[in-house]
Structure formats: structure tokens, C-alpha cells
């Protein structure tokens, strides 16, 4: 079963020229794609496309073999819920605390506001050194701590697919080892990932396929 299948998928991005024309791409369980490109903007657009954050001009998006209907954004929500998106434009809600941000999904879907962080999230927060900052608003955090909190939120949402942009920058080099450790454990469960990284060691360790992205065309090399 393909987790994601893009067929003749066209994305328009006229002002920045990061679009894709009739793209075909399939991603299954256990796939780990590293994106190799000289255009970080286009690679970012590709991640956004996989995260369903860009509406296509034409083509079909299949998620778990079901065609996704982009005509109403509400159709995308159950799919987006299962995608972990750790990228430069990932954000936290600014008017609540980091703890509330980490609990937001559970607040909503468990319909309760008297929840506390589960043990895994607590452990990650402690390991990444943001545990004592959980009751701050995201705006008060250092940017590296904020990005770490976002990474923790996405890692702990039990994703079916993980999209990561520049992990070495996202969590900072000091936390990269911790991040790779968590990622390694998650990948044991055959969690598919697509990532952009300039860290050769990271690419070698985590990818089993490479996407060469040039001028809107994909070349996949195993």
C-alpha cells in the first residue's frame, strides 16, 4: 500500500518559480527519502506539497490509496493530522503556552482541558532541555528552543509520515544527536520520512532513497 501517491501533480508558484509540473511520486511504509537539490526553496515547496499545504492546479493526491479532495480544506484535516511536519514554516500557537501547544491535539480530540503531558513527551522535553520552559508563551522562547518544541510536538503526534527540513538547523547541532536517536527509534517501526539535509552523515544514516530535485523534476535513486 502506498501511503502517498501523487499522479500528474501540478503545483503553481508563479512568483517564486518553485512549482512542479505533472509530478509523479509514490511513498510507502519504510521509505526514507533524502531530497538532494541546489534549490532549497523548491525542496521546501515539495515538503509543503506532501503536507497538503499547497493546493494543486491539477493532478491527484492519494493518501493511503484514497483520493484526497482538495475542494474543501476540511477533507484534508484527517490526513494532515497523520503527517508530522518539521519545517521552517512550522509554528506554534502564540497566545497559549508551550505546554498547551503540546497538548492542543489531545485537548481537542479527547475533549478535556485537564490533561497532562504523557511520559514520552515529558522525557523528550527534559532531554531537549525545554522542560522548565513549558509554561512560557512560544514568543518568549529562544528560536532553537521553539523549534525543538515544534519538533517534539510533531514527533509525539504519532505520525504516519514525517517531513523534516534541515534537522541539523532545526534542533541545533547540540540537540541533533538526541533528535537522531529519537528518529532512529521511530524508524524501526517503518515510519516513512522525507527530509532535506545538508549533513552527509544524517543523509547516509537515514535515507534509503534519494530524490534529486532539479527544475521541478524528480529523479529517484535507490
Amino acid at each position: 500500500m502506498c501511503l502517498i501517491n501523487l499522479v500528474d501533480y501540478t503545483i503553481d508558484s508563479p512568483e517564486k518559480d518553485y512549482g512542479f509540473d505533472k509530478l509523479d511520486f509514490a511513498l510507502s511504509l519504510g521509505d526514507a527519502f533524502a531530497i538532494i537539490t541546489d534549490s532549497p526553496g523548491r525542496a521546501h515547496m515539495f515538503l509543503k506539497t506532501l503536507a497538503m499545504l499547497v493546493e494543486p492546479v491539477s493532478g491527484d493526491f492519494y493518501f493511503k490509496d484514497k483520493k484526497v479532495d482538495f475542494s474543501d480544506y476540511r477533507n484534508l484535516l484527517p490526513c494532515k493530522k497523520k503527517i508530522g511536519y518539521i519545517a521552517s514554516d512550522s509554528a506554534m500557537i502564540g497566545n497559549i503556552t508551550v505546554r498547551e501547544n503540546l497538548l492542543y491535539m489531545r485537548y481537542y480530540f479527547e475533549n478535556s482541558l485537564s490533561l497532562s503531558l504523557d511520559e514520552i513527551t515529558k522525557k523528550l522535553c527534559k532531554n531537549f532541555g525545554i522542560y522548565d520552559k513549558l509554561d512560557m508563551r512560544p514568543g518568549r522562547l529562544r528560536s532553537v528552543d521553539l523549534r525543538t518544541a515544534i519538533a517534539i510536538r510533531e514527533l509525539t503526534k504519532s505520525p504516519d509520515l514525517l517531513l523534516i527540513e534541515r534537522p541539523e538547523n532545526f534542533t541545533g547541532y547540540t540537540n541533533l544527536d538526541l533528535f537522531t536517536e529519537v528518529l532512529r527509534d521511530m524508524m524501526l517501526t517503518k515510519l516513512p520520512i522525507v527530509f532535506i539535509s545538508y549533513d552527509r552523515d544524517f543523509i547516509e544514516e537515514f535515507s534509503n532513497k534519494k530524490i534529486f530535485l532539479k527544475d521541478g523534476n524528480l529523479d529517484i535513486v535507490k
Binding site: 484534508l76 494532515k80 511536519y85 502564540g94 497566545n95 485537548y107 481537542y108 480530540f109
Partner: protein, 258 residues
């Protein structure tokens, strides 16, 4: 001539499109009120209460003195001509029917509508709306719905506070600090006020609340990339809110009193 006709045509199309979008957004949010999924109820309730707190409780220290000043000034002015007019009836006509709802709406526009537009546009520009969607949560339900209910309830409560304080508080101020004869003012008010006056005030404030919230949400959500667009958006949203409130006020008054 063609240029002018073209300009008018384009403006008319843009305006019609904008107003249709506002009605569509209102409809989308209203549909959510009647859908009652179990998920998210507690969160929606909390955000709604927060909005009532921000837009009603925090506005009280501003609206109380304004209502007292308005009420006492009007009573002083109209007490001087009470030989010609019935003071109680005049106060009901001015405060309950017209000034109460409009002044409350203006205060909410100045204080809260601008804040909502900024908040929503920043949420959009800084991808917070995307973050909510990536959590599988409908931003309409968690962002728009609580604001619509919260701000509309807040305006309604503020209208009641304003009217009571403007009439009773204004009367007390005049009674304590001046020697202006007013006869049995409260009896006149009691005789003058009708159920229609109260109903019209409530209807006006509910429509004001809906118009203000939806206009601000629409302008906030239409900012996609540039934070510099926010300033323009706030300016447009405030003026539009004021204009819609005046139009709603006139239409409601015509419907009920003409």
C-alpha cells in the same frame, strides 16, 4: 467616459464579491454552531469564555465612565427642555434605541475589532492557522466560532450595562451634583420604555456583533504573506465594521419604528 464606467463596474464587482464572501463566511460559521461534534467542545468553550473576558469584562472600565458621562450629559441637556419634550421618552429614544447599541459597537470596534484583525492576520502570516490544520483541527471551529459567539455576547452584555448605567447612573449623577429639576424621571422612563425598544436594542447588538466579528475575521484571514498588509487590513476592517453597524442600525430602526 468608458474609463469611469469601467472603474465603477470594477468597484461594484469587487464590493459585491466582498459582501458575498462576508455572507458566505457568516453562513460557514453559523453552520458550525448547529454541528455538535463531541471533539473540541471543551476547547471551544474555553476560547469562547476567553473572548467574552477580553471583549466584555476588560471593556467594562472603559464603558462605565463613558456611559455615565453620556447619560448625565443627555439628562442635563434634555432636562432644560423638558417643558417641550417628555424627558423619559427622549432618553429611551436616544439611549436604548440608538446611542446605546451604536456607542457599544463603536467601543468594541475601537478596542476589540482591531485586535481580532491583527491577531488573525498574524496567525495566518506566521502559519499558526496551518499548525492548527496540521493537528487535524478545523480552524473555523477553533478560531472563528468562539470569536463570533464571544464578541456577539460581549456586545450584548455591554449594551445592557451601557443602557442601565447611562439612564440610572446618569440620573443619579445629575440628582447628586446639580439642582436641575427633573420631576419623576424614573417613572417617565418606566412608562416610556416598551418591549419593542428592548427587543430592537438586542437585535441591533446581535447583528452588530456578527457584522464586526465576521468583517474582522475576513480581513484577518485574507492576509497571507506580508505583515505590512496588516495595517491596511485593520484600517479597512475598522471602517467597514463602523459602516455596517450604521447601515444595520438604520435598517433595524426603519423596520421597527416606521
Amino acid at each position: 467616459m468608458d474609463y469611469i464606467a469601467g472603474y465603477i463596474g470594477r468597484k461594484a464587482t469587487i464590493t459585491t464579491n466582498h459582501i458575498s464572501n462576508l455572507f458566505a463566511l457568516t453562513y460557514r460559521i453559523f453552520v458550525l454552531i448547529f454541528q455538535k461534534p463531541k471533539a473540541g467542545r471543551a476547547l471551544v468553550r474555553r476560547i469562547t469564555l476567553e473572548q467574552v473576558y477580553f471583549n466584555c469584562v476588560q471593556v467594562l472600565p472603559i464603558i462605565i465612565p463613558i456611559a455615565l458621562v453620556f447619560g448625565s450629559t443627555l439628562i442635563i441637556q434634555f432636562a432644560k427642555v423638558s417643558g417641550q419634550y417628555d424627558l423619559g421618552k427622549t432618553m429611551v429614544m436616544l439611549i436604548v434605541r440608538e446611542l446605546g447599541p451604536v456607542t457599544t459597537a463603536i467601543l468594541v470596534i475601537l478596542r476589540s475589532a482591531t485586535a481580532v484583525t491583527i491577531e488573525i492576520s498574524y496567525m495566518n502570516v506566521f502559519h499558526e492557522i496551518d499548525a492548527i490544520e496540521m493537528a487535524g483541527i478545523d480552524p473555523m471551529r477553533i478560531v472563528c466560532l468562539p470569536r463570533l459567539i464571544g464578541i456577539t455576547s460581549a456586545i450584548l452584555c455591554l449594551f445592557i450595562v451601557f443602557d442601565i448605567l447611562a439612564i440610572i447612573g446618569g440620573y443619579l449623577i445629575v440628582w447628586v451634583f446639580t439642582y436641575i429639576p427633573m420631576g419623576d424621571f424614573m417613572t417617565q422612563i418606566g412608562k416610556a420604555i416598551t418591549a419593542t425598544d428592548i427587543a430592537v436594542g438586542i437585535i441591533k447588538t446581535i447583528f452588530f456583533g456578527i457584522a464586526i466579528t465576521v468583517t474582522c475575521l475576513k480581513h484577518g484571514l485574507s492576509i497571507k504573506e506580508l505583515t505590512t498588509d496588516t495595517a491596511v487590513s485593520i484600517s479597512k476592517a475598522s471602517i467597514e465594521c463602523f459602516f455596517y453597524c450604521i447601515v444595520i442600525n438604520v435598517i433595524t430602526s426603519i423596520l421597527f419604528y416606521m
